[in-house]
Subunit: 135 residues, 2 copies
């Protein structure tokens, strides 16, 4: 039987427990978890500003025990090609993207996972600002 | 031949690339890497303020592919007992602690590893404050 391959995509700035839990749950959908980390250029295109450069964001994801391979996400359009080339069985995203990738259901299973409530890079940034002002 | 066991200790607040690289290098000294994460009470005793509670700091360390086991650091005094009980061969710390744990050389090898230059929780906090003010 061939291995079930799972993919997910994201910027993964300031690797936090919300990311970790999402990756742990994503891995449960298959044998191999491949993560596409957004390039700095693509992150900017998405209107986001990352604190950490691509190399460090990718290194942090590679250090996660649930992740088997890390590639780069350069643009919105690459997903279908990635799914076909890598023979992906399940595409996973956080449910803040609910419905947005249903067009991929022609190619593989599409799963939206609940985000860890109130944990996000934005939350971490806000908490840090409070701490930074205290110290 | 028995397995070589490596230990390290720390708060590991806001898990970052400096932590990741230190754990990767620590693992190279043996077969099993055990990390003692400081409890919230002990962190306060050390005069540090963590953004994240013990449970989340420990969960992040458990998610790291180089780490085999996570325990709790409750006090300064437990190290010798840990080393003897766990049959530790190498004690590893960042070189910001250079010389401070030489008294453990009676019990096992003691290694101080270079910290990733200019990467620390303090650096991350400062960068976050800048970003928080921009956004």
């Amino acid at each position: 039987m061939s291995k079930n391959i799972v993919v997910t995509y994201g910027s993964f700035d300031l690797f936090h427990i919300g990311h970790l839990r999402l990756l742990a749950r994503a891995k449960q959908y298959g044998d191999t978890l491949i993560v596409f980390v957004s390039s700095d250029e693509f992150t900017q295109q998405k209107g986001k500003q990352c604190l950490l450069p691509y190399e460090q964001r990718a290194e942090m994801i590679s250090g996660c025990r649930y992740v088997d391979k890390v590639f780069t996400e350069h643009c919105w359009e690459q997903k279908i090609e990635n799914i076909e080339t890598l023979n992906v069985s399940t595409f996973v995203m956080g449910d803040d993207w609910q419905g947005k990738f249903d067009f991929l259901k022609t190619y593989c299973d599409v799963v939206y996972l609940p985000r860890t409530s109130s944990i996000s890079s934005t939350f971490v940034k806000q908490s840090m600002r409070i701490i930074a002002n205290i110290n």
